[in-house]
């Protein structure tokens, strides 16, 4: 029987992969991919918690099933898309100037 624990393990693995990607990648798009992994880890958490812990609880109290977690996950998906759109536009602009999106090259501003 697959339960909450399995989903939390999956989410923890996704989170770990995301953090590792962010820390090791030097390419801006690679870092953005790491961010997406963390966002999806949060999504898996929210949907799994909603399904296994809280939807049934509300029904037991005579209310409609709680959908807070599902709604939150929906919003995260939409905003992740918006964030990717802005980030890619900014990377493209950076590429026009520096001919690379290696973040090691972003060294003009420092101190």
């Amino acid at each position: 029987m697959i339960g909450l624990g399995h989903f939390l393990t999956l989410s923890a693995i996704l989170f770990g992969c995301g953090v590792a990607t962010i820390l090791t990648k030097r390419n801006a798009i690679g870092i953005l991919m790491g961010v997406e992994l963390i966002l999806n880890a949060a999504n898996v958490n929210l949907v799994a918690f909603n399904r296994f812990s809280w939807a049934g609880e509300a029904v037991a109290h005579g209310a409609a099933p709680a959908v807070d977690g599902l709604m939150f996950a929906m919003f995260i998906i939409v905003l992740a898309a918006a964030e990717a759109a802005i980030a890619l536009a900014i990377f493209l602009n950076f590429y026009n100037h520096f001919s690379t999106i290696d973040i090691e090259r972003a060294r003009m501003l420092s101190g």
């Binding site: 790491g34 807070d68 964030e83 900014i90």
Partner: protein
């Protein structure tokens, strides 16, 4: 929680709706064939539109705050518990809107010519949507709304930081901003998902009540940690502060001004609301220890942030970087104050702390606006942002030099300026709550900061100017700098009116209408408007 919504509830969001309408008009009107020629000819129509929208937002916020024109504050949160419109939120919103308005005036008289005419609609709608997100941050009471508000404030800021597409610095600044912001918001969301998993609700008050009843939990720790990362990013708290000087240097100067005050005002209001709600329900023994821990941690973050900002500012030769580190230090002072809200040992009055913060925000908005306005004039004249361009400013334009000196001394905290009273209030609150180590940190930091605030003044007075040409200033700029000067001295010499205003408007809605846990049935009935006015009157005494 009410399912439906009444029109009076919608009207409480009138300030935001004004901005929303202006954003839509600014995006749609310039592409309509009959109007296209007018918008292509100059920036003026759109600037006027933005100013009118902000004025309408300010007026409706003031009407809500004073209860005039038939607009009244609700006694509960609106939009199904997503946001709350109370005195504290409205006061912060008014500060944000007035500041945004002055930033647009600054933009139209100094740097507007750098924005192409076809980009004008995008630029102004980004500024207005940034202000919209920041004002939602001041209102959010649900963690979903916290996330949405932070992102709504962040996305326009990323784009604005890189708006000057032709320059290398601008593109690098926006790259750093968007990457760090994306990582911070992802970590915040992971923490919030754990908070949801543990408590089964995203409502701030419900979580605070559960914390008061049950005390410490893994979900709470991860959630608070995530929130601190997300809000700390907006506030440029150490250790996620390093985007701040780079973005401030790379972005256009009016955007820097906008980010330095409006964005931080929204974020600190959100942090204060979260900490105050947690602290308000913390009567239980379970909650005491963990909330003390959280408050002490936040206070420590504030101390480290302020110290780091003040020390790093020593080595700066670019005026925008100098002011960036100065704004990090000021954010640090405000975070220190937010820590008090859950860490106080004594029987604390939360509104006292909130009023000190509101007063500080007013002063901080004026002095930062003034300093950046003078810097923008000097930087435009010499097309360089180096501190050396301030050499002999006293001989080139005595008004600018004197004004800059006043703003810098106010940022330092000189008596007779508003900055002094802001810091005194902070120190007084910290001492009252028994957090003497925060008072010591505040005093040491103020002493540290003297050197780098004096540095530009010494350059202005004693160094020989590189050019003897008299600096001419647009009349609108005199207006902006004059308003800022007036604000700095009005709050410094006669602090009582601003103090009274801040005291009257620092109440949050949950303090008047939310009964303690397990007392939902005994909700006091009666006219909420009269009840809230009585509460205000009590708070003012």
């Amino acid at each position: 929680m009410p399912v439906g919504m009444s029109w009076s509830e919608v009207l409480t969001l009138l300030p935001e709706l004004c901005l929303l309408v202006a954003i839509c008009v600014a995006l749609i009107a310039p592409v309509l064939p009959p109007l296209r020629a007018m918008f292509r000819a100059s920036h003026a129509p759109l600037t006027a539109l933005a100013i009118i929208a902000l004025l309408a937002a300010i007026i409706s916020a003031v009407a809500l705050l004073t209860g005039s024109a038939g607009l009244t504050l609700p006694d509960h949160s609106v939009l199904g518990g997503m946001v709350v419109v109370d005195h504290f939120a409205l006061s912060v919103k008014i500060i944000i809107y007035i500041f945004t308005l002055l930033v647009i005036v600054l933009w139209s008289s100094v740097t507007r010519s750098q924005v192409r005419l076809t980009d004008g609609p995008d630029y102004l709608s980004l500024v207005l949507s940034g202000a919209l997100g920041m004002s939602l941050m001041a209102s959010a009471t649900n963690f979903l709304m916290v996330f949405l508000a932070i992102e709504a404030a962040s996305f326009p800021s990323y784009a604005l930081a890189g708006f000057n597409k032709q320059t290398y610095r601008s593109s690098e600044a926006s790259l750093k901003y968007v990457l760090i912001g994306a990582v911070a918001s992802a970590l915040m969301l992971y923490g919030l998902s754990m908070l949801y998993g543990y408590y089964g609700t995203l409502d701030l008050v419900a979580v605070a009540q559960r914390v008061a009843a049950e005390g410490m939990s893994v979900g709470l720790l991860m959630g608070v940690f995530g929130l601190l990362i997300g809000i700390g990013f907006k506030l440029s708290a150490v250790p996620i502060h390093f985007w701040c000087p780079d973005v401030f240097e790379g972005a256009s100067i009016e955007i820097t001004t906008f980010l330095s005050v409006a964005s931080k005002a929204g974020a600190i209001a959100l942090l204060v609301r979260i900490m105050m709600t947690l602290g308000h329900f913390s009567s239980g023994e379970h909650a005491r220890q963990i909330l003390l821990g959280i408050g002490t941690f936040v206070g420590l973050v504030g101390v480290v942030t302020a110290t780091w900002g003040n020390l790093a500012a020593y080595f700066q030769t670019n005026v925008k970087r100098l002011l960036a580190y100065s704004s990090i230090a000021h954010a640090g002072y405000m975070i220190m104050l937010a820590g008090l809200l859950t860490a106080s040992m004594n029987n604390m009055q939360p509104t006292e702390v909130a009023y000190a913060l509101l007063f500080y925000l007013i002063v901080y908005a004026f002095m930062n606006l003034g300093a950046f306005a003078v810097a923008s004039v000097v930087a435009k004249e010499s097309s360089s942002e180096s501190l050396d361009e301030f050499a002999g400013l006293g001989q080139r334009n005595i008004f600018l030099a004197v004004a800059m000196g006043c703003f810098l001394l106010s940022l330092f905290g000189m008596p007779l300026t508003g900055g002094f009273w802001g810091k005194v209030r902070f120190g007084f609150q910290m001492w009252n709550e028994g957090m003497w180590w925060l008072v010591v940190a505040l005093i040491i930091n103020t002493v540290f900061s003297l050197y780098f605030y004096l540095k530009p003044i010494i350059i202005m007075v004693w160094k020989q100017p590189t050019s003897s040409r008299v600096l001419s200033v647009a009349p609108a700029m005199y207006g902006v700098i004059g308003i800022a000067l007036l604000g700095v001295f009005a709050t410094g010499i006669l602090p009582d009116p601003a103090t009274a205003w801040a005291k009257n408007n620092s109440r949050m809605v949950f303090m008047m209408d939310l009964p303690p846990v397990d007392a939902q049935a005994t909700l006091p009935s009666g006219d909420p408007v009269i009840a809230s006015k009585e509460n205000v009157a009590e708070a003012g005494q």
